[in-house]
Chain length 324, copies 2
């Protein structure tokens, strides 16, 4: 059995060995650049831990795991264009450092390169692995579209919001765990449970992200807090607050998220104080806890000794205790 640190080492070494020193450099430099941001490589680590849970060959899970991480990084490059996000992990985003055309095309190349790695998967698992990756890719696109729609849609309900993050974030986390389970030769029921484990973990993870975007510590978070408020992102905090708010608070929220220009500092300060008044931090933390417990329940239902699940549980806990 492998622990998280072993697995992270394996992943990091494999990512270092990905060779993007190719021509044309304008296409591949942005890909090297986005990988240079580092990060915890949560997705491929989850894939390898899931495979290891079922005592599978971790080496067989490596290519699909790296492909999933490559796919994830492709989505970051394109999402940053659409979200007009200038910074990521304290560095300029690809479209800001270069330009939109370069970001579109290097993203496309990385998407194709992800498949190049994925198709190296042991043929025994190839078709299933590719199905999972491709389904997740489609889900993520759909989720991103809903996310964009919600920037201007006025009446987003909580179920709308949860469905959006399920597609945009949770589906890929589910896919990572499902892929690991497939390569661990888990049975269909176990594979489905691992997907649900990941999906619920992904939902909790995204709500935590919503919370950190506004209430995280800037020096740990790597970018200015309040980005979602400035760009009128309809986060869980917003949708819940808008549901709870009445009278003047509802008017202020509605006005602030209408798309007009406001003084950024003042907007963040006011929105924060409304969220505080409505007790939305606690409500969000409870919701995170609910999805987290649901995720652990799925993992618990898998008929394996508890000690085998310790690393996955540890990582799941880390993801929700994080401050960045």
């Amino acid at each position: 059995m492998h622990n998280i640190e072993d697995i992270q080492d394996i992943i990091n070494k494999n990512i270092e060995n990905l060779n993007f020193k190719l021509t044309p450099v304008e296409l591949y430099e942005p890909i090297s650049y986005i990988f240079s941001f580092g990060g915890k490589r949560i997705r491929p680590v989850l894939t390898l831990l899931a495979c290891d849970l079922f005592d599978g060959q971790v080496e067989d899970a490596l290519n699909p795991a790296i492909a999933l991480e490559m796919f994830h990084n492709f989505t970051l490059i394109h999402d940053d264009i659409m979200d007009k996000a200038p910074m990521r992990r304290g560095k300029k985003t690809v479209y800001k450092k270069w330009n939109t055309d370069i970001a579109i095309l290097s993203g496309d190349a990385l998407f194709a390169k992800a498949y190049e790695v994925a198709i190296k998967t042991n043929e025994k698992y190839l078709k299933n692995v590719l199905k999972v990756l491709t389904k997740a890719a489609i889900d993520v696109c759909e989720g991103q579209q809903y996310d964009m729609n919600y920037e201007t849609d006025k009446n987003i309900t909580l179920p709308d919001y949860i469905e959006m993050i399920r597609l945009k974030t949770a589906a890929l986390i589910g896919a990572c765990l499902k892929t690991g389970a497939i390569i661990g030769n888990a049975d269909d029921n176990e594979v489905a449970k691992m997907y649900n484990f990941g999906e619920n973990l992904g939902l909790a993870f995204q709500l935590k992200d919503d919370l950190l975007d506004l209430f995280g510590k800037e020096e740990v978070f790597g970018k200015k807090t309040g980005g979602d408020v400035i760009t009128n992102k309809k986060t869980y905090l917003y949708v819940k607050s808008f549901e709870l708010a009445t009278g003047n608070e509802k008017k202020i929220l509605s006005n602030y998220f209408s798309g007009n220009e406001f003084d950024e500092e003042e907007k963040i300060k006011t929105v924060k104080s409304i969220y505080n008044n409505l007790n939305v931090i606690e409500i969000t933390e409870n919701e995170i806890d609910k999805f987290f417990k649901q995720s652990i329940k799925c993992l618990d239902e898998i008929n394996l000794p508890s000690f085998r699940k310790s690393e996955l549980k540890k990582l799941a806990n880390q993801l929700l205790r994080r401050e960045s």
Copy 2:
């Protein structure tokens, strides 16, 4: 044995059956829209004809063929953003009809959907088919990057140019024919020859495109001629002319393709007259003929009775006699 029209019917029916009436509509409408442009569906037709050449099961080639056509349409959506092309086949391009974000994301979704169809390929051929598709996808991205670079690079040689269109256009035509051959159970040597047949055909096809962009009939071509001249695309015509031009003509060409603003009509008229003076139409036609003959030579080297090759030869001829 199937003829071109049979094969076109099969492809068209299958494309009609692709269901993009999905949600979110903002994501899928642009995909339905680009498929509604119609066209000759050259790429999937080539795949099926190649399979049929080797007496393969055309039904087995259908999913990969459709996937290749989907991939091609994805590249059109993204290329039109980068090329700032307002029109395609007499209709607004996706990014013009909607916006850049929608065009990026619906393109991404179509890329993923292409793989969704590709992975339905008979498992016997799956890995090889996906390798060919993915290699072509990477080649096309690299080619598009060189194409963008060449808009501002001053010293493009003819070999640079040919390598760019080999990646951007010819590699996918090669991939279509290779895929058909794989599913027709052709041997490795035959598969390689089919790729070379396609690659040379693709080079001839692109040069023909360069010619039509400036000298095609607008009513047949579906867009204004001279688009490449206006956007400073370094086509074969330009690169060859720049090589041949001396004195004042060279200065005019250099100035006109410098990126500054000019009166469009006058720019097109002057550039056309320089190309005419330098006899570049005839030179390009000879080059097209050279690549075409090279492509037919590859096909001829395949040890099959000549009558089996008639439909592929007929289609290849049509592609180079076209006026749009």
